[in-house]
């Protein structure tokens, strides 16, 4: 008896001795878990702050208040008011003349060039379209805000270090001096960059916008939805409710699982080989992009729709069958309506994934330089994520902030789609 007591005491002593160590390892283990989560949290914080801090400045654009005299001698010396002639007029000269009124001392060719490149090269095109819209402006002095050149804008935003030697930076000492003088006269200010949302791509950062890419992405998503949603839902209904258990159906199931796991770039190869080379569809067109993305989203929608169908309790089916409904009636009149919100939720999340996808689009030529905003799914176009990719590669300093801004726009739309999905789920979700 005393022997066993002794043993018990021994054991508890052993246990107690080990206890501290065990508690410590318990604490450490828990600590690792917290660290893991913190790792992800910290990454997200760093990630978003890095993107936002790089991108927020792209939403404003430095502009210069200019008085430009629309000299008739330059625009239309023969007073013909002929559109073709006016198109070829030298509007650059008007801009330069106006700038020279501030800095009359400028004379050499180099200085003229530097002075002219204070403002965006799009300024003369803007004057041109103003004049073409309204001939009565000719001969008048107009007072407008014009966009500064991207390099100047970068300087104003503090992205160019002027303490470096002149040869090591993109703007000259003269330009720095002129800009400072203009600033002292309160002629320069940072205004909202509406171009970012109203223009297509451009080689000049200050003229570039994401509208073309947005419209291209929109066309693609519509095609994706039209093709993938009905097909995916129908396939899900068949597999979940009607499919017999046989080898053919097993084969279909294996195929769907595989499709869901195939790397997206392979879908791009499919698009290139089948849609473009075999069917001869146009390169760079949202139609092809939409079809490729539809094939990619198809298995996602099937899987989501099947989950939605499964979540409908069997009692509903049993009750419907019990009162004499046919199988199809049961499914379409009772199960499907109950599962539809879940299907839509899953599909929207799948479409959001498709919106962010760019690898397959690179394969089908959606990386071309397209300025015009597409008007139909057959026009050449970019897509939002591809625009991010293109801008990330562009050499101009001004595109760094615009890339981040395009990312913010992309993330905004993703957030919008996902929150729509969550809203749908919360609104229509039935707790059984």
């Amino acid at each position: 008896m005393s022997n066993t007591l002794q043993e018990t005491q021994d054991i508890s002593e052993i246990v107690n001795r080990g206890l501290k160590k065990r508690y410590r390892s318990e604490f450490m283990f828990r600590f690792y878990g917290v660290v893991s989560i913190l790792f992800a949290v910290v990454f997200l914080l760093v990630f978003f702050s890095s993107i936002i801090s790089k991108g927020y400045s792209a939403f404003t654009q430095g502009e210069l208040n200019m008085k430009i005299y629309l000299n008739e001698e330059v625009i239309d010396p023969d007073r013909l008011r002929d559109e073709e002639e006016i198109r070829y007029a030298n509007f650059d000269k008007l801009v330069l003349d106006s700038l020279k009124t501030y800095f009359p001392e400028v004379s050499s060719r180099k200085e003229r060039k530097e002075l002219k490149s204070l403002v965006s090269s799009g300024t003369s095109l803007r004057l041109q379209s103003m004049v073409l819209n309204d001939y009565s402006l000719i001969g008048q002095e107009i007072d407008i805000w014009v966009r500064l050149d991207s390099d100047i804008d970068m300087y104003l935003k503090g992205n160019i270090d002027v303490s470096l030697d002149e040869s090591q930076r993109r703007i000259s000492d003269n330009q720095v001096r002129w800009v400072q003088e203009l600033q002292e006269q309160n002629l320069i200010s940072q205004n909202f960059n509406s171009t970012l949302f109203t223009a297509g791509d451009s080689r000049e950062p200050e003229l570039a916008g994401v509208l073309g890419a947005l419209v291209g992405s929109f066309f693609m998503l519509i095609i994706t939805f039209i093709v993938a949603f009905p097909l995916g839902v129908a396939a899900a209904i068949y597999l979940e409710e009607f499919a017999p258990k046989n080898r053919f159906i097993d084969f279909v199931e294996v195929n769907i699982n595989n499709l869901a796991a195939v790397p997206s770039i392979i879908y791009g190869l499919l698009g290139l080989a089948v849609f473009i080379n075999f069917f001869g569809m146009p390169r760079s067109a949202p139609l092809v992009g939409g079809l490729v993305l539809a094939l990619m989203t198809f298995p996602v929608i099937i899987i989501a729709s099947r989950a939605a169908l499964q979540s409908v309790p069997p009692s509903i089916t049993d009750a419907a069958l019990g009162v004499g409904a046919s199988k199809i009636q049961t499914v379409f009149d009772h199960v499907f309506p109950l599962a539809l919100p879940g299907m839509l939720t899953g599909s929207i999340i799948g479409m959001a994934r498709a919106l962010g996808e760019s690898a397959p689009l690179l394969m089908i030529g959606m990386v071309a330089f397209v300025v015009d905003v597409p008007t139909s799914p057959l026009d050449s176009s970019a897509a939002l994520p591809v625009q991010v990719y293109l801008w990330a590669d562009a050499p101009e300093r001004g595109f760094v902030e615009r890339t981040s801004a395009a990312i913010l726009v992309l993330l905004f739309f993703l957030l919008l789609m996902n929150s729509t999905a969550i809203w749908l789920r919360n609104k229509f979700e039935t707790k059984w």
Binding site: Y32, N255, V262, N277, M363, Y389, N418
Partner: protein, 458 residues
């Protein structure tokens, strides 16, 4: 009649045919007993009405363009028809631009206006024929179906037959898609292997896919040994897994075993955000923010880290797949029966001991399956590596070197250069085939493990 008007009237008439069919059934109900519910008679008439219209619209979309073009060409002046077929397509582009009211190039040829007018006329004619024939046919078939409606008509069975066939057809699209992928990749890959031997591709140690594109160009014998690419892919995937597996697994364990529900409710959406960020954005982050940081860090500790180091790419890719690992692990961990935990606690084990000694061993097959799925995701990932990894196919296992991957090479080979008969372009498809087979095998195996594991505890 314009197309949109036609479509609207088809939709309208479709509704009408449904209601008429239903109405007749409702009327019949007074005199005889119906086999099906009245609305099925409506669907029955609708199906008869819609089928020919859909078929004709489909055929019209498919063939109208080429038919009209051929007709217009046959009406062109002799001098133009004598040109080569390619020249004629150019002239036709002119005609179509004029016909569509687009800007034309200015120079016109004799008969251009005439041809454009012909083009519009014939297009209109074909369109009218299509529209009216489909309307007439639809109406005729509708009348036929309407007359055949009787109490004995097994309308529901017929309609249901159509519906289930449509459903089956949708499900088989998956097979077509897989077949399409396999064939498109396989076909080009076979052409590649006719030029470059299979062994050279799979076991060659040098990847330098430069091919002279003109005969008189010198240098550049193409070498297509893919081992450096496989090694680079493996290296980057390995780094990403060493980040994602511990973090993802610990996150899952913490969330399912320790975390109070409040922490869970905040952490889960955060992980969802992590998985929702587009890969191109991860790539941008890796290239612009992380890679320079790692490089500078390397400089401070005296290491020469390449700016496209596998380390930076792998790190970001690892973060990208954390949510995948964590959600898959979460699933398998919560599938471990509570009884096993209770048994362990009953013996006096602490929570962490239970997790380490009971739950993880029990969930191990499922976790391994999850890791395999994550690996296949990492191998197939494209944008992050395209933007942040290098192009130099170096055979190196040093994480601070720049390596290249299979997906990067596919993109480089195919973007821009669209030549389809050179081994250089075809190599992309051979790489694609390899990628397809490897990810397929990984997934197949992983899903098998996970399924087997689930069955074990169900």
């Amino acid at each position: 009649m314009s197309i949109s008007l036609f479509l609207i009237s088809i939709i309208f008439l479709g509704f009408l045919s449904f209601f008429w069919g239903k109405r007749k059934a409702l009327l019949l109900k007074n005199t005889e007993s119906l086999h099906s519910l009245p609305r099925y008679y409506g669907y029955y008439s609708l199906a008869w009405f819609a089928a020919p219209s859909l078929l004709i619209i489909f055929l019209w979309l498919l063939f109208s363009e080429s038919f009209v073009t051929n007709q217009v060409i046959s009406l062109l002046p002799e001098s133009i028809r004598a040109l080569s077929p390619n020249e004629i397509t150019l002239r036709m582009n002119d005609v179509k631009n004029l016909a569509a009211g687009n800007l034309i190039a200015g120079e016109s040829f004799i008969g251009l206006e005439q041809a454009a007018a012909n083009y519009n006329r014939i297009t209109k004619l074909v369109q009218d024929v299509a529209i009216y024939s489909s309307l007439v046919l639809s109406l005729a078939l509708f009348i036929f179906s309407y007359r055949s409606i009787s109490g004995k008509l097994r309308a529901r069975n017929k309609v249901e037959k159509i519906i289930s066939n449509l459903l089956l057809a949708s499900a088989t699209v998956a097979i077509f898609a897989t077949a399409g992928i396999l064939l498109s990749v396989l076909f080009e890959a076979i052409r590649f292997f006719q030029i470059i031997s299979f062994d050279d591709f799979l076991f060659g140690l040098t990847w330098s896919p430069q091919m002279a594109i003109r005969e008189d160009q010198v240098g550049s014998s193409g070498l297509f040994g893919a081992i450096p690419l496989f090694a680079g892919t493996a290296l980057i995937s390995l780094i990403s897994l060493t980040v994602a597996v511990p973090v993802g697994l610990m996150t899952a364990i913490y969330l399912s075993e320790y975390a109070p529900s409040k922490v869970r409710s905040y952490t889960k959406p955060m992980l969802e955000i992590l998985s929702g960020i587009p890969t191109v954005v991860y790539g941008f982050f890796a290239a612009i923010t992380l890679a320079p940081f790692i490089r500078d860090f390397g400089v401070t500790i005296g290491l020469d880290i390449a700016s496209e180091s596998a380390l930076g790419v792998g790190l970001v890719m690892g973060i990208m797949i954390i949510p995948l690992v964590s959600s898959l692990s979460d699933d398998v961990i919560s599938a471990v029966p509570q009884a096993m935990r209770d048994g362990s606690y009953g013996l006096g084990a602490t929570k962490s001991e239970t997790i380490k000694k009971v739950i993880i061993p029990a969930a191990l097959p499922g976790i391994v399956g999850g890791i395999l799925l994550a690996a296949s995701r990492a191998i197939g990932e494209t944008m992050i590596v395209v933007m942040a990894a290098g192009l130099s196919a170096r055979l190196s296992f040093n994480p601070i070197d720049a390596v290249t991957t299979v997906t990067v090479q596919i993109v480089t080979l195919l973007v821009g250069d669209q030549e389809f008969d050179s081994p250089k372009t075809l190599a992309a498809f051979a790489l694609g085939l390899t990628l397809f087979v490897v990810t397929l095998a990984l997934n197949f195996y992983a899903l098998k493990i996970v399924r087997k594991y689930r069955e074990q505890y169900e």
